[in-house]
Amino acid sequence: MKWIPKFNSSNYLRVIFIIAIFILLFLSSIAYKHNRDLNESSKLLMHTYEINIELERLMSAIKDAETGQRGFMITRNNRFLAPYLYSRDKVNTSFISLKKLTANNPQQKKNLDKLFKLIIQRYVSFENCLKYSAPETYDKRKLDNHMFGGRILMENIRFKVDEMKDIEKVFLEKSLKRYDEEISLGPVFSISLFLAALTFILLAYRQISKDLESLKVYNKKLLISSGLMAESEAIGKFSTWQWDLETDKIDYSDNQFRLLGVQPNIFVPNKDSFMDFVHPDDQEAIAASMEGIINNEELPFIYYKIIQPNNEIRYFKSTGKLLVDQQGSKILLGINFDITDEHLLNIKLQERNNELEKSNKELASFNHVASHDLQEPLRKIQTFISRVSDADKAVMSDSAKEYIVKIETSANRMRVLIDDLLLFSKTNTTKKEFIKSDLNELLENAKSELAVIIDEQNGILQVDNLPKLHVIPYQIEQLFINLIGNSLKYSQPGIAPKINITCEKILSNEYPELMDQPFKKFYKIMFADNGMGFDPQFKENIFVLFQRLHSKTDYPGTGIGLAICKKIVENHKGYITADSEPGRGSVFTVFLPE
């Protein structure tokens, strides 16, 4: 089923689409991960920021306490002591916040504990300073010591806070860097992936539109060929049908309905509907062949009759084949030919053939009659005449003797006629065995056959070299005998006959009379004599049976010799012509195919 186009691109398209879908899924998973990473990093940033702020708050609360304490110690005004008192609450609040924020980080937690101890020490130092600066307990040396110790503690606190800040900063930077790495891989990669997916989709689109185009073209071709099919079915008087063995669905071509003598699609065909049209004589054979086609997958030509609804009988010839398509379903395809015209013609031809055979047989029996039954009485006439002895003749009257002689002459002539006629019919009816023969030899045989007459007339024969050809040897010999004999017979009185036999190879297209022959190369053999010749208006007639140009008293003959020549040359698919002018000799030309 070569005419069905193969759309392999459907597989190709499937692959492209699957790849594109995978790329897109991959891209979206990457996008999701980026989103989550971004979220994580902003949370981390926020976390660090909060810790920093809380540390700053802690710091500023302690600074506030220091500033308030100093103001109080200078002015001894209780108003300055308020920030110092509040600062403890602030420190505690910040501390609780920080504790929550660093819960996940053991290092920061440790640092926070250390910081807390430092802050408590700092507050103890505040109390001591307040104590030794009060007028009632004033001690300059101890105050100086505690003031100085407070400053060192303050530096330690700041140092610790900075350390914590640094740790946060390093952690943040590390995390951000990691995310950055992940994200920085992203854009180029995902854009190229996206472009790849796009390319695949574009390719698929191109393939689809290409397939659509070729589908359109095939569709058009299919439309044209189905139209052509329908036309040719109508003209060629044949029809097609399909039988899907899987679904048991049968389709007839429109012409199938017409050949059955009904309108197209007038009924829905099934397994048995065709049988209704088949002639009762043939139903059994058709049923058997239907079985056979399923088993043997092929239906040899079957000939049968159908009856159309108008009771007209048509002759059909059908054949079929089982096809298995790519999907493995089995379909029977069949062709029916309406061969009624050929059938009737055949019958007529057969009749004519029979007639011809009959008339051929009659001709053959005529030949038999001529050869045997006619000869029998003739032979007896001749024998009886030969029995009339000289003694009998002596007592006869002169006229009776003359009649006896005339009867004898006529009987002899009849004998020659019958023999010649037999020879003529033999050139037609005897089997034609073509043997490669040397024509020189055959001519020699002919010459020795005629040797006595040639010697008598002092005839001279000049002969070219003749070819070797596939011929019926005895017929060609007969041809040579007849042609040479003819020349000897019609020689000019008083002049020794001279016959010139020449031969050359020619091409048939140079001779219009040879155009009908299926051969291209011929040998042209010419027999030219110096005899009496004949009027060229008889050049066709001399080859006709029983045609004679001279009276039989002058030149005895039956008028069969040249007719035999023509027959022999025709048997060899050749051609013979004669040319002459009275008194200037004649030329017989024989064309024999190579």
């Binding site: 050869s371 029998e376 001749q382 024998t383």
Partner: protein, 149 residues
């Protein structure tokens, strides 16, 4: 009639031919005894009869009613006590087919009935003086058909 007269049998349905044949033998200078049968059936009956003295030469016409000469020839050659009989085919026909067939079936010589009484006498003279042993051993398609020089 002498005891050692040549015994000739002619199977021919034609009365005139039998007459010519008889006359010709009477004019031939050899002592002969000539018998006739008129068709193939009669010939076979005659030959199959155990009382029959077999002829020295059987002249057999081909074209006979009831049973043709060819059929007789085949039958004779199939019959043990007849198969060595000398058979001369004596027929009007000189068709290649008849000559070929009778040669193959084992006839000894083929004579075309002549149209001249003197020729007939010559032929008969030739046939009855023929050395059959010599002729049969050297028999071939070319000398099967009797031709007079």
């Amino acid at each position: 009639m002498q005891k050692n007269a040549l015994h000739i049998l002619l199977a021919d349905d034609d009365e005139d031919d039998r007459l010519f044949f008889k006359d010709a033998f009477e004019e031939v200078k050899v002592q002969t005894k000539v018998e006739f049968v008129f068709d193939g059936l009669q010939l076979m009956e005659h030959l199959m009869n155990p009382d029959t003295k077999l002829p020295d030469i059987l002249f057999l016409d081909l074209n006979m009613p009831k049973k043709t000469g060819k059929e007789c020839l085949i039958e004779i050659k199939k019959t043990e006590h007849l198969k060595n009989l000398i058979i001369a085919i004596y027929s009007t026909s000189s068709s290649d087919e008849d000559i070929e067939d009778t040669f193959i079936e084992g006839a000894n010589i083929y004579i075309k009935k002549p149209s001249d009484f003197n020729a007939l006498k010559k032929i008969i003279n030739e046939v009855i003086t023929l050395n059959w042993h010599y002729h049969t051993s050297g028999l071939n398609r070319d000398n099967f058909l009797l031709s007079l020089k």
